[in-house]
């Protein structure tokens, strides 16, 4: 084993190693540093660029560190009502979309996991088909529908469809989870006099917390980052969400690169802060949900 896998480090390495590839870990460090560099440098370019002047950005774009730290770009964005308006709109839409998707979806998942009725499987399949309607494909048809329903230019005209599009994933993730809760718990609750809806509300939902958090993160991040549907639904700048706002700011201030970078840098803060605070849940939720 040591001969084939690891000839240099010898028996000492063999004794201390746990994984099979300790010997060349400097390669891993090198790769890790390169990967981190490629990932972080563009973000640093934006964040630090917001502290530079346009003259500096034009003459020496690749010097990341500002010669003179300029705060005016950031302060002007932070005092820009439109920036806060964008954040408020994004937050409102994402919170409502998430609440509706998780609320309505968990009710349906409960019915489809713990009520045995004829057609339950077919009903489930009806929702599963929704996984094949990605919002990107359906955006134009949705636009036509929202147009017909006079829902354009209203925040709920975006939040409600986003909730609807989050339903399939919500149900597909929650159903097996709810089904796995032992029947004995339900029986015990019934014997104690709880109704089925009481069991759902007081016992099943608290027990399903990890899965509920997963679907909530999925719905929230999807809505927070959505661009196409808000682009179709909103013409009025006061309705713009953050992704629309960022793109719009770039076209409005073409000549003022420093301010664009400040605006973009600040727009990244909520998502990155969220990731830093709840990394485990977010990474687990977004990658774990994939395997459903």
């Amino acid at each position: 084993m040591s001969a084939t896998v690891n000839t240099t480090a010898g028996a000492a390495a063999l004794r201390r190693r746990r994984g099979p590839r300790e010997g060349r870990s400097w390669v891993a460090y090198l790769v890790a540093i390169v990967v981190i560099g490629i990932t972080v440098v563009p973000l640093l370019f934006v964040v630090l660029g917001g502290f530079r002047t346009n003259a500096e950005l034009n003459s020496d774009p690749a010097a990341l560190i500002p010669h003179h730290w300029v705060w005016s770009n950031y302060t002007s964005v932070l005092t820009n009502a439109q920036f806060w308006r964008n954040i408020y709109n994004s937050l409102l839409i994402a919170v409502v979309a998430t609440a509706v998707a998780v609320g309505v979806g968990s009710m349906a998942a409960y019915a489809l996991s713990r009520y045995n009725f004829r057609g339950s499987e077919a009903f489930y399949g009806f929702f599963v088909i929704g996984l094949l309607f990605p919002i990107g494909v359906a955006a134009l048809p949705l636009f036509l529908l929202l147009h017909d329903l006079h829902m354009l230019e209203h925040w709920w005209g975006v939040a409600i469809p986003e909730a609807a599009f989050s339903l399939p994933a919500t149900i597909v993730i929650l159903r097996p989870f709810m089904r796995a809760v032992p029947g004995e718990i339900e029986d015990a609750a019934m014997i104690d006099g709880t109704s089925r809806l009481g069991f759902f509300w007081r016992i099943l939902l608290p027990l399903s917390r990890p899965a509920l958090i997963t679907v909530a993160i999925l719905a929230f991040v999807t809505s927070w980052n959505a661009y196409l549907l808000p682009l179709l639904a909103f013409n009025d700048q006061s309705n713009f969400t953050l992704p629309l706002g960022v793109a719009n700011f770039q076209t409005q201030y073409t000549q003022d690169t420093a301010k664009i970078l400040a605006f973009t840098g600040l727009s990244m803060v909520p998502a990155l802060a969220f990731l830093a605070v709840a990394e485990r849940r977010i990474v687990g939720g977004l990658t774990g949900a994939v395997k459903g």
């Binding site: 990932t39 349906a108 045995n116 499987e121 996984l131 990107g136 359906a138 134009l140 409600i160 992704p243």
Partner: protein, 334 residues
Amino acid sequence: MNRADVTAGAASAGPAVAGGRTAGRPARAATARAGRSGGRRRRLELALLLAPATVLFTAFVLAPMALAAYYSFYNWNGYGALTSAGLSNYTSAIRGANFQHSVGHNLIIVGLSLIIQLPLSIGLAMLLNRRIKGRAFLRLVVFAPYVLSEAITAVVWYQMLQPNGFVDQVLVSLGLGSQVHDWLGSTSLVLYTLFVVITWKYIGFGIILLLAGLQGVPVELREAAALDGASSWQITRHVVMPLLGPTIRIWIFLSVIGSLQLFDLVWIMTGGGPAEASNTMVTYIYTFGIRQQQYGFASAVAVILFIICFAFALVYQRFVLRRDTEGALTRVVG
């Protein structure tokens, strides 16, 4: 968990069974019997629980597609009367050079993802799957571009790729000045530039996904293979890769569906240009449908895109993913 189990269970449990699926447990059968006696209340509860989701889903997911299918047979500018168009929207879309190019661009992105992004993700995941210090930090950093919106990503890279901008200056300072190009302005380069940006944004997700898959490969298996004299390449090829199969197949599925729907990033960085050289199917719908208010025509293109995604998803679920997940979709649809 498939239908065969349920019916078999019900058959063996005989006439006492009211509950079907969980028939094995007597206590549950009793509950189900009790439930039947309160049948009306139970049905009311079911209706209450299922109605909101059903209404929401039908109204905003299914109905729009149906509406689009309907509009696709008409000419309509959003205001005037509908005039019947027969299949002309479909035929003119399919015959149009711009549409064909758009589909081609999507397919190029799909192909590049499979040929470049996938092996790169696997390689990086394997290299990073070691006991190195700071792995938690690495995970955090690598995942960051994935949680940023495509809109933000697009603006970041649009700024960096400006002529004489960050990227160009870095190339010059590395002595690669001859490699400076008009990244977003060249019709022959723009698609590949976009692909690099897409890779920057999404490779972290692939790496994390594959790292999770690698964690699932038991150390004992590698050690056993090593004891039998397998080289590390052989272990990778014949032990690790097969066990990584399900993760890779899921990644491919997500990547293809994502590539077919590409919009945000392209729209903000190039608007489908220059000279339509970076149009995707969705930017095509946006440009030629919504901007020009040819809603019937745009609907036809949306229906075509839907059929492409639908067909791919079904075929892939049926023939590739089935063995991994007992394909939730094929069980119901196929």
